[in-house]
Amino acid sequence: MLSRLRNPWPDHRAERMLGAVALFACLCVLAMIALVAQRAWPIFAHNGLSWLGSGGSLKAQIETMLATSAHPPASAFYFRAWPIIYGTLLITALAVLLALPLSVLSAVFIVELAPLRMRRVTVRVVRLLASVPSVVWGLIGILVLVPFFDNHIISPSERTSVEGTVQLTGAGLAPAVLVLAVMITPIMVALTCDALGAVPPAWREGAAALGVNRMRAIRAVTLRAVRPAIVAATVLATARALGEAIVISMVSGSNFFAPRPSDGLTFLFEPLRSLASTIVDYHEGTSAPALSAALYACALLLLFSAFALSVGGYLIKLPMRKYQTRG
């Protein structure tokens, strides 16, 4: 009997067991899609796909939903989420646009230009920053950046210019974009630094031996070689920015308002909301069925956009593979 205890399972049984465990993650994904879609279904049933568009005051719609109880009337499900979709796109796009050149250039600086001691310290600090919790970023934003904008940047004339529609409190698009950009930069820098360090030294030597100056060699050979890694880092950072709920909830002013570029510079200071921050702000209202359906619809949208993002990143990297294969 002892021998039976000592002998481990036969291979095929072990394989099946391990395989079953491995499928757990896939089951979670499927369950996630299924449950979220099921909870979000009422919104689709009552609005079709036009809930993605605009119409009416989103604030009023949410408040109606909040007030519903067990069996709400069909009118309570009226939902037009465009302001928060627009807010999400705006914040994400601006943050990534700001963070991408900063990250790539900083990575080039750290790997190629910085003196050795500085490089060691900077890499460590970057890795530390990449693991800072988002609530701490939000804290710095709301306690430092927002008052700064409120007291020093926004001028009275700008306040009066939008007085009728919205109140400028310092929390708005600009601080949200800044905090988000600074939050996703360390992730991209860390990934790009790793990729730059993995470029074969044979290519650098070859470029140097061909009489090409340093920056030109970096541009023409090294940066070209790490293009797939930069794409991967950008996709990761965009996914992070897209789903960031806490920072936006703390720093963006939490107003169902769609900032208008036609307002000129004031556009940067207008408050807004994103899909994720809406979900977090109203999470206690899930006992109201209409609101719960609306929130799950937003969650479904976020889920699909994260998925689409990684597929998009894969498609962008595909043509780059052609020249990277080492035969």
């Binding site: 074969p200 031996a209 061909l210 009489g211 020249y323």
Partner: protein
């Protein structure tokens, strides 16, 4: 087209890498080097009446032995065709800094070398591993500066100008280098060869200006016929020998004056090696070629002048005939005869 280029095109793609298959008895295609058939019968030790049948295993591709040295004589020109002096080394020493680990002699990788390199000649640097020949080669285009802590003494004159006073990018435009492992960039063949042309110039040249130069470089490197159908193929998909020829084309595209080669054939198979040696033979008309090799037979085949280095010192320097046939230093004699190294 030389025999070697014919050879490199001989095998059809399907037979590359396949193991030889035994065929049933079949008369094999007669080959110039095979002994005549009757010879086997008459020299059989069992007498002429009991002779086992000649059974031949025919490969899909007849094996191509590397030709013995005597047949290579025809490739080397008559000595004395050397052109103007391109590089002159005077008392050059190189060290990699740090504390001396070799005792009193110091940690110098190269000690006090003086040489002269002419256009039209191939100079081979030979010597056992670690003797400093690669370091000396890399000093010629100041590539040792990429290593922190490298120091150089003495003078290197390129066409009379001190290499130290030239800008390093200008120097490397005139003194090109090919490395041991082929290192084509992750771009197309065209972009690889055009790389130096594009990046060395102030103003970015346009495609129609580059095309003839790229084609010319590929022709001179002996690669054009193989890649002419699609110059935009990724360079990394070429075979090892083709990649090395691509690197040579890339190096000679900007028309340098000196070509430095650091064991260019050590990672290649004998056929590709032969192709490249033939190429060196052609290239030296326009360039001065310095080749580092640890393969004495290759040095014999290819070189006009030979410099033998040992532990950083230049032990002997002269024409290939003299160093190989009548070496003066005992150490050279030992090395050349294969006693060490």
């Amino acid at each position: 087209m030389s025999e070697f280029q014919q050879l490199s095109q001989a095998p059809p793609p399907s037979t590359r890498g396949t193991r030889p298959r035994a065929h049933t008895l079949r008369a094999h295609t007669p080959h110039a080097d095979d002994p005549p058939e009757h010879a086997t019968l008459s020299t059989s030790p069992f007498g002429t009446d009991h002779v086992p049948p000649v059974r031949t295993i025919v490969l899909d591709r007849p094996p191509e032995p590397v030709r013995p040295p005597e047949q290579r004589e025809a490739l080397r020109p008559v000595a004395g065709a050397a052109g103007p002096e391109r590089l002159r080394l005077e008392d050059v020493s190189v060290s990699y800094g740090g504390a001396s680990t070799l005792g009193r002699r110091g940690a110098n990788a190269v000690r006090s070398v003086s040489l002269s390199i002419h256009q039209g000649e191939v100079l081979a640097l030979i010597g056992p591993s670690g003797c400093g020949k690669t370091t000396l080669l890399r000093t010629l285009n100041r590539l040792t500066e990429l290593t922190p802590g490298a120091r150089r003494g003495g003078q290197i004159l390129l066409d009379g100008e001190d290499v130290h006073d030239l800008e390093d990018t200008a120097l490397r435009a005139r003194v090109a280098m090919v490395f041991q492992q082929p290192n084509p960039f992750p771009m197309s063949i065209f972009d690889n060869v055009a790389f130096a042309l594009r990046e060395q110039s102030r103003r970015r040249p346009r495609r129609p200006e580059l095309e003839p130069l790229v084609v010319d470089a590929l022709r001179r490197a002996g690669l054009y016929d193989e890649v002419a159908d699609d110059l935009h193929r990724p360079a990394l998909r070429l075979s090892g020998g083709q990649q090395q020829r691509l690197c040579i084309a890339r190096a000679i595209a900007p028309r340098p004056e000196v070509l430095l080669m650091d064991e260019p054939c050590s990672a290649l198979d004998p056929i590709s090696t032969g192709v490249i040696e033939e190429l060196i033979h052609e290239l030296r008309r326009d360039l001065a070629v310095v080749i580092v090799t640890h393969n004495l037979a290759q040095a014999r085949r290819v070189a006009d002048k030979v410099a033998f280095m040992y532990l950083g010192d230049l032990v002997e320097y002269g024409t290939a005939d003299q160093v190989f046939e009548e070496p003066r230093a005992p150490r050279t004699r030992d090395y050349v005869r294969g006693a060490f190294g």
